[in-house]
Each structure stands twice: as C-alpha cells, then as structure tokens.
Symmetry: C2
C-alpha cells in the first residue's frame, strides 16, 4: 500500500495516525465490544466522545464561556439559511462582503429567505483574487457576514472587520483551526468539517449565547433553529456520531502538534515554501494577491494561461498543459490538483493534515514539469 | 477482543464483515492511496460509490423509474419539515396517523410550518401499543403521513392505507429493507440510516418525481427543497461521503443475504423466536399488540410491572428488577436493552444486522434471569 499526497479542496486528507486509530478501533472501541458506528448516541460509551469533542474545540479555539459549541448537519449551505433565519430577526437587514462563490451563495440564500441584503464590498472586479479592505461596518444590520477563507479563490482575510454592536458572522470552513482566531470578535462562526477537522457530514457552529433566539423568522423549521441544538447538547436528534468521533481524534492530533498556534506555524512554513517557489518562477504564478493569500488553498496558473482569455489556440494549449500537469502529478502520487473552473489552472489545498514533505514533493514535481514544458 | 450483542434502537449494530472491510480499507481504498474519508466527493474515486449506493437502493427496494433516490442530512426530524414544506403546497392540508412520539412530532412540525394538520386516527388511548386500522384515507389533503414502524412502541403497520390520489408519506427509518415493500404505493419514503442501513448521518429519501416541486412553501431554504438534491444527484453540496460508503457496503451485505425477501425471512425467524418466548412466559410479556408488532423493535415488561402504575412500592420493585436485568445482561455481553421511558421495561432492537444467535443468547439470558427472580 502506498499513500498519496492528497491536495483535495474538500473532503481532504486526514492525519494518518488518526486513520490508523480509526481502523484499529473499528470493531471494538475501548473494550466496549462495539464500533463507534454502532453506538447509541445516548449511551455511556458514546456521550463522553461528543462531550470531549466539544471541550476540545473550546480549549483549542479558546472559546469564551458565553458561546455555545454545536455540531449540526447539512454543511455550510444549511448554515447560509440558519444564519439568516436565526439572526435576521430585528431589522431583517444584513451586510455581506462578496469574496467569491460561497460568500455570494450565502447572500443569495439570505435574500431568498426575505433578508434585505446589502453587499457592502466585493472583489468581483478582479475575479475575487483579493479581500476588500472593509475595516469598519456600520448600519442597522442584524448581522454582517464574511467568508474568512475562500477555498476556490485561495484568499483569506488578514484582518477582522470592526462591526461594533453588529454581530459578525464568518464561514471558516476552510481555515478552522489552521490559525489562532479571536472568537470574541465574532457573533457566530461555522465550519463544515470536511476540510480541516473530519470527514464530511458535520458542521461546527460557535455562537454567542445572546444570538440564540427562541423566535427565529416565521416558518423556520425546528432543526434549523440554533436553540434546538444548543438546548440539547447537539443531541436533539441523532448526531453524526462517527464523524464527530473522527473529529475528536483530529482535535487531539492538533493539540499534539501545538494547538492552533503550533499548527499555524507549520501551515505558514508550508505555504511560504509554495508561494516563494511560485513568486520566483517564470513558469507558474499564484492567482491570489499578496496580502490576501490563503494558507490553505493555493491556486496557480502556468505561463500558458497568459493569452488564453483572448486567443483560442492559446486557450487550447493552456488546457493541454493543465491536463498534462494533473495527469503526470497524479501518476507521481500527487492527487486532486485540478483547479476549480472559476480560476482555472491548478490548486493545491494544503490543509493542516498535509505535511511539509507533501508540499516539498509538489514543488519538486512542479520544477521538473516546468523544465520539461518550457 | 470480544464483540457484544448490541440491541440498541439506533444507532445500531452493523454487520461484522462490513466493519472489517471498513477497517481494512481505512488507509487505502481500492488502491487509491486514500481513505474514503479523504476523497473529494467529485473525484473519480468517490463518484462510483454514491452512484452504486443509489443503484443498490433501487435494485433492492425495486424502486420504480419514476422515483428519485436521494441521500440527505439532518435525520428524520429534518424530513418532518421537508415533507411539509415541499408537499403541503396546494390545499395546505395534511392527514396524520398518530402512532407514537415520532408520528406526533412529524405532525407538530407540519403544524408549526403552517400546515392544517388533521390527526385522522390515533392509538394514544392504549399508549400507542397498536396500529389503528385506517384502510382508506379521503379528503383534500396534500398528503397523508404515517410512521410505518414505531421504534419506541415496537409497532408496525401490517397494511398500507389506501389513499387514492393523495400521496402517502411514510417514515420507514426503523424498518427500511427489513422486508419487501411496494414503493409504488407511496409518494415519499424516508429513512434515517442509523438503524438498518449505516452509521448515523445520512437519510435516505425516495420520492415520486411529480412531488419534486420547484415551488415549495414560501421561506423554504434551498437545502430543504427536494429539488435541490434531486437535480444534483445528492451532491448539491458535500454529502456525508463516508457514511454513504458504509451504507453501500451494508446494501451489498443485504443483497448477499437474499435481498429484502431473504433478510425478511431471517427477521421473521428472529422475531418469532423472541415473541414466542414472550407469549409463553409467565415472567415477561411483550407490550405491542398482536397484529401490530414490529419485527425490529421488541419492548417487553416483567410481571413486576403489573401493579407499578398505581402502587409506589410495586413501582420501586419494578425499577429494581429492570435495572438488575439491564445490568446483568450487559455483564453477559447483551447491551443496550434498557426500555424507552415511555414504555418502560426493556426493549430489544433486532435489526437486520442482529443475528439469530444474538436473539437466542438473549432468550437464554431471559430464561435464566426469570428463574432467578421469580
């Protein structure tokens, strides 16, 4: 068996030692004679697992006491609705910063549910290759919404907008626990787990208690009401137990690697290694602007993209080179490097579980490919 | 390592060979060098898995061509809302048969979302210990709703109500693929997977195509619209990939065991063994009435329950005996037998993956316990 380096944008690579533990415990967790997959969520065997996962999130993210930590289902797309339905209840107005597909989808969902959405800034003018500078957000908004790391565009906020009394909501799906974050600056944070935390199927929500309302917008289903989950320790109905178990293991792995600060140091080292190579290459270039670059998602193009927008032959050549890159990389054990169609080229997602060795192997491959395809 | 017999009502025991395969493939699925947990849902490695799961459901349940098979998140409780929001769009009226907690919760959720709910029958008069006989449902209802197997009460429909043009909706969470079922009699079927199909975290929905509307009730979130999932092969956003992978394995295990018909034969044998013992015991008795009994969930009481309702000392004695039963059973490797508080006593959930040997071991234990506690 030979493990590959997996640069998938999500679901993504997991720490190998976590997978080994999962395999070893599959038929008998901790002497219970059961797999965690088989456990009643209300059993003495399972409850400590979800409780530990919650405690580990609180510890690693330094979540203040006046915030609840929830595990829910439905991914970020469900959060787009839940945020609007539970927070948009006073003026019914919300401010969104548009930094790519997911921020836009969140705004569209809020508008669909009756929220008066104001897009207060956008980086659409440059295909979302940067984060607009919006240091202060003011107005009678029920909340302000940002996507803190943009998986597709490879951008990341290097600042947190000041919002005064307006609760700041952030989608941190692709950067959760990749760095230290001051939770107290936010009203609500959420993260689909399938990038940095666990397999797909659970969403982490961190919500300030005063935002947990009993009276969301009319017609909000029980399951889309944060209070339902907050009042029941994320066990109003059966949670995705096994996924939370893997998440708990990943959290312990993060702790062993120095917590958010330690992992961040490794992430900076990995990203610097790759960006430095890209910035000094005459064959490749990163698409995200300096000052807005993600540590987690690194889209890049080759020089063959230079005239692809306005020249059919050049576009065909670019496609040929990109396809060749992805094919040869895959053969070399570097997988899931195809770029998103909205950016083109390639994308290396280098989440927490990607090793520096993996990034180095990628750069070595890129050098070789460049030399062979000049 | 010693595996136990797990009688949990859900999440529940899974076939041991499925767990062994999961363990063996954990670090490298099928030579990909990745765990299924790590795979992009849009990858060539993963897509065949979800497609096979869908095809296997269609094959095993003989799902007609004019039905879509969906994998969604949020459990039955989310379906309570989705059914109301997507089907309750013409007259806004719906008929519910109340056969226990889950049927009632479904009706309450529909009412909360603005549906005019009529409870056309109920077995509340006898603590839901039977299924009311409602052979025909008529009226201007948008849909009629039943809970086909009641996990808590241990009851099951032995007939399918005739509803003419009214789409019949059934929650089959705790009996899915435990028996043959004529899907064409229903407009919509759903099943949380954590009882008979997979670990918790995915819900199977089978919906007749004409019920997939583009215009659900006002304020329905995108993720709670069936059309969103139907139009995108259950991949509008990241599905719970790994859970679906386990589900696919369980479906193949069902096929190997004779499909729905073969599994049902085994289930009848297991249930008959247990009910025959209970019906001939002077120490235990089943709580569900004959003619309404579930093959999957078997609640039972001891003779110490006889006067517990109106006698404090008897109630204390009953509790003592029940606790002793559960404790000694657990020590004997028969776990999760505590009854639901709404029924009391004990409950043995004997889903597809429970073996006849497990049921026999339970009955042997019950005999011994009865002899020691007369």
């Amino acid at each position: 068996m030979s493990r590959v380096y997996n640069f998938s944008a999500g679901p993504s690579c997991l720490p190998e030692e976590v997978l080994k533990e999962c395999a070893a415990e599959m038929l008998d967790y901790n002497g219970t004679g059961q797999s965690v997959m088989e456990m009643s969520h209300r059993s003495k065997a399972y409850e400590p697992i979800i409780q530990d996962a919650e405690a580990m999130v609180r510890k690693l993210m330094k979540v203040p006491e006046n915030y609840k930590i929830l595990f829910v289902q439905g991914g970020g797309s469900t959060q787009f609705a839940m945020v609007a339905e539970n927070l948009g209840i006073h003026t019914g107005k919300a401010a969104y910063i548009e930094t790519g597909v997911w921020a836009k989808k969140a705004a569209q969902e809020a508008a669909k549910l009756g929220i008066e959405v104001t897009t207060i800034a956008s980086s659409k003018d440059k295909n979302y290759s940067y984060i607009p500078k919006v240091e202060k957000i003011e107005g009678d908004y029920d909340y302000a919404y940002i996507c803190f790391n943009n998986t597709i565009m490879g951008t990341h906020y290097e600042y947190i907008p000041e919002t005064g009394n307006i609760p700041l909501v952030a989608d941190i799906s692709s950067c959760v626990l990749s760095e230290e974050l001051d939770v107290s600056k936010f009203g609500l944070l959420f993260a689909g787990a399938q990038k940095n935390l666990a397999p797909a199927g659970v969403t982490l929500v961190i919500i300030r208690e005063d935002l947990i309302t009993e009276t969301p917008r009319a017609g909000t289903p029980t399951m889309l009401t944060y209070k339902t989950h907050a009042d029941n320790g994320s066990m109003y109905n059966t949670p995705p137990c096994y996924t939370i178990y893997v998440l708990d293991k990943v959290l312990h792995w993060i702790e062993k690697n120095g917590g958010a600060a330690g992992i961040n140091k490794l992430n900076v080292e990995k990203a610097d290694y790759l960006y430095n190579f890209l910035d000094n290459s005459d064959f490749y270039h990163a698409t995200a602007e300096k000052g807005s670059r993600s540590l987690m998602n690194v889209p890049f193009l080759t020089k063959y993209s230079d005239h692809a927008a306005d020249d059919e032959a050049a576009a065909a050549k670019e496609k040929e080179i990109n396809d060749k890159f992805v094919k040869e990389a895959t053969a070399a054990g570097l997988v899931n490097l195809k770029g998103h169609r909205l950016v083109g080229g390639m994308r290396a997602s280098i989440y927490n579980a990607m090793t520096l060795d993996g990034v180095k192997a990628l750069v070595e491959f890129m050098k070789k490919f460049a030399a062979e395809n000049k």
